[in-house]
Amino acid sequence: MKVKIERDTIAIILLICIVLICVVTLLGFKSHGEVEDLVRQQFNEQQLMLARQAALGIEGFADERVTIIEILARDRSGDSISDITGCFKTIYEETSGFYSIEFIDANGVVVYGYPEHSAPVGYDLYAENMSGTFDSARDKKETNISSPTPLFEGGLGSFIWVPVYEEEEFRGVILAIIRTTTITDRFLEPIMQDRTGYVYMIDNKGKSLYDGTRREAIGKNYIKMLSEDNDAWLKILNEQMNGSEGTAVYFDEGSRSEQIVAYAPVRWRDQLWSVAISVPASEVDDLIRSVYVKQMTFLGIVIAIILGGSLGLIVMYSRWNKTLEAEVKLKTGDLIQSNKELALANERLKELDKLKSDFVSMVSHELKTPLAAMRTSAQVLEVTDINTETKGEMLDIILRNIDRQTNLVNDLLDLSRIESGRMELKFEKLSLDSIIADSVESVRPAAMDKGLTLDVELPDGLASVKADREKLTPVIINLLNNAIKFTPSGGGEIIIKVRELNGQVEVRVSDTGIGIPPEDLDRVFDKFYQVDSTLTREAGGTGLGLAICKGIIDAHNGKIWAESELGKGSTFSLTLEKWSG
């Protein structure tokens, strides 16, 4: 039962542990999906920000250049042409980015240019039939920026035509050229350093202004280069050409991978370009994977904590259980112990009850027997014609039984006093020599009658004992009488021996008599116990002597016991405390 409960509890803890792990795992996987979306979204936004940043950079850079030229054209419109062109060098050197700055006079002829070596001074636009943009700038009285067009020297360049008017007088046009590579080197090239993917930029016709991977495509139109089935990229390009911004995905045939494209427009006056950052989708997957790894690590740690916690709980519980069990065992043990004691006490009470009723019936028998003898004898004496011999016999019986009755009553009274604890002992410093001498003297006639020798062995300088002379003497006499009683006539020997032992004084009375059967040894001190009643009766015993002896010795804090070998003799020993002052 106990083991079952313990198992149940452990099972419950394990179950809770498993449920917790399941919940954590489920939550983990659910959040995986969310995290994946979030990471993708974040990634896209980041790409878009990058594109936007690049676009803004380009816008700012290019517009700033245009503004400088416009300020020059407006502020110096009244100056001489040489004054105007005199600023070119300063502007060129102070503001990086210009390829060249030229001045075309009102007739369409290049009059000055800086740096001077690349300036086609004397070049007549009208003569070369290249005056379209010049005319448009003059007529509209505002800056005209051309689409990036191939330069003589190679590469693309943007031509910025800024008309110079003094009041209504047209003085000419400042033409500034900015190479596309100047812009892209500054703003697009650094974006993809140490990163996968590439950047490209197109104008509003789909012409490539910059391409991080395919340099050869620069200047060409992507739309024309596209294979027919690449609708997804075409769609992106269209969005870009419209000036939209955003992110999109397409499958790149060349690298055979999904590409995420983030694009943002560059609005430079009337020019519309679009910067795009194209990154393989696997980049995001890598990112997500790293997030996964972190998440899985976290999950693992949580599960480990749950498992550890459960294990700790189980260990703690089982320990607690064990302590509890031990306590219960202890308590149960106490109960069992007290139950046993109660049962034992009950047994003892029953025994005592039986002893008591046995005692009562024994007393009844022992009291009635002498009475019966006396009564019968007296009735025999009543008969007138009996002879003298019979008369004497009957009178003897009557007297003997009166004595017997008297002895019995005295013994019973002694016993009653002992058992009720009313026996008063007058302890004094006693020398055993005199007590033993007195006792031996009083039994000597009986021993001599039976032809038994009586030996006393007393060591010199024997310590005194603490005892009551009046009570102790009858005990010694009783033991000696018993020894005489149970030793057959002639040749027997009775020895009384005294010695000090373990701080006590021991008295031993040994005989060479009939002995006591081993099974009766414990009972000789019981009331009315008689090994052979006939012999006892002959000697006038009441069967209470040894019980009284034991009571008296017990009251002296001593011990009394018997040893015997059947047919060889018995030894009764008793111990007494030494007189301690």
Binding site: A373, T376, M394, I397
Partner: protein, 170 residues
């Protein structure tokens, strides 16, 4: 009265020749003269024989004297085993059987006597010091013929003995 072989031979011899001396009979049967005398005196004793069984000599002796005065032939035994032996050798006409006996108690002696066909007809009176009803009932069940309670009145005992003898002797 039960006779053994020697008893019968003595009787036969004396019937043929009443003048035979104890010595002659003793010689013929290989017995001592004293034994022959004892047998003849026993054979010639026609008094009712009562066996008293009691371990208390002081109880036994006055009873014996009282019954002898009444002219009973009294024999005695002091324990259960001796009682059975005396019954076997002397065939008493009545037994006064005490309950508390050494070796074999009164109930056991009674039981054995009543189970043995040869002795079952001998009446038994049990004097007991206990006076407890349960003892009496047990005694009656195993076949004791009567009771007297200690200390008993001698006249009552004598009357009971005579009554039991009358009842059991044909």
């Amino acid at each position: 009265m039960k006779l053994d072989t020697n008893d019968r031979k003595i009787v036969e011899m004396l019937q043929k020749d009443a003048t035979l001396s104890y010595g002659v009979i003793a010689e013929r049967l290989g017995l001592t003269e004293g034994e022959v005398e004892g047998r003849i005196s026993r054979l010639s004793d026609t008094r009712t024989k009562i066996l008293i069984v009691d371990d208390e000599l002081d109880t036994l002796l006055p009873l014996k004297r009282a019954l002898e005065i009444e002219d009973f032939n009294v024999i005695e035994a002091q324990d259960g085993i001796e009682a059975l032996e005396r019954v076997g050798s002397d065939i008493p006409d009545l037994i006064l059987l005490d309950l508390m006996l050494p070796k074999l108690n009164g109930f056991e002696v009674c039981q054995r006597l009543k189970q043995d066909e040869a002795t079952s007809s001998i009446p038994i009176i049990m004097p007991t010091a206990k006076g407890e009803t349960s003892d009496k009932v047990e005694g009656i069940e195993i076949g004791a013929d009567d009771y007297v309670t200690k200390p008993f009145d001698l006249d009552e005992l004598k009357a009971r003995i005579k009554a039991v003898l009358r009842r059991t002797t044909p």
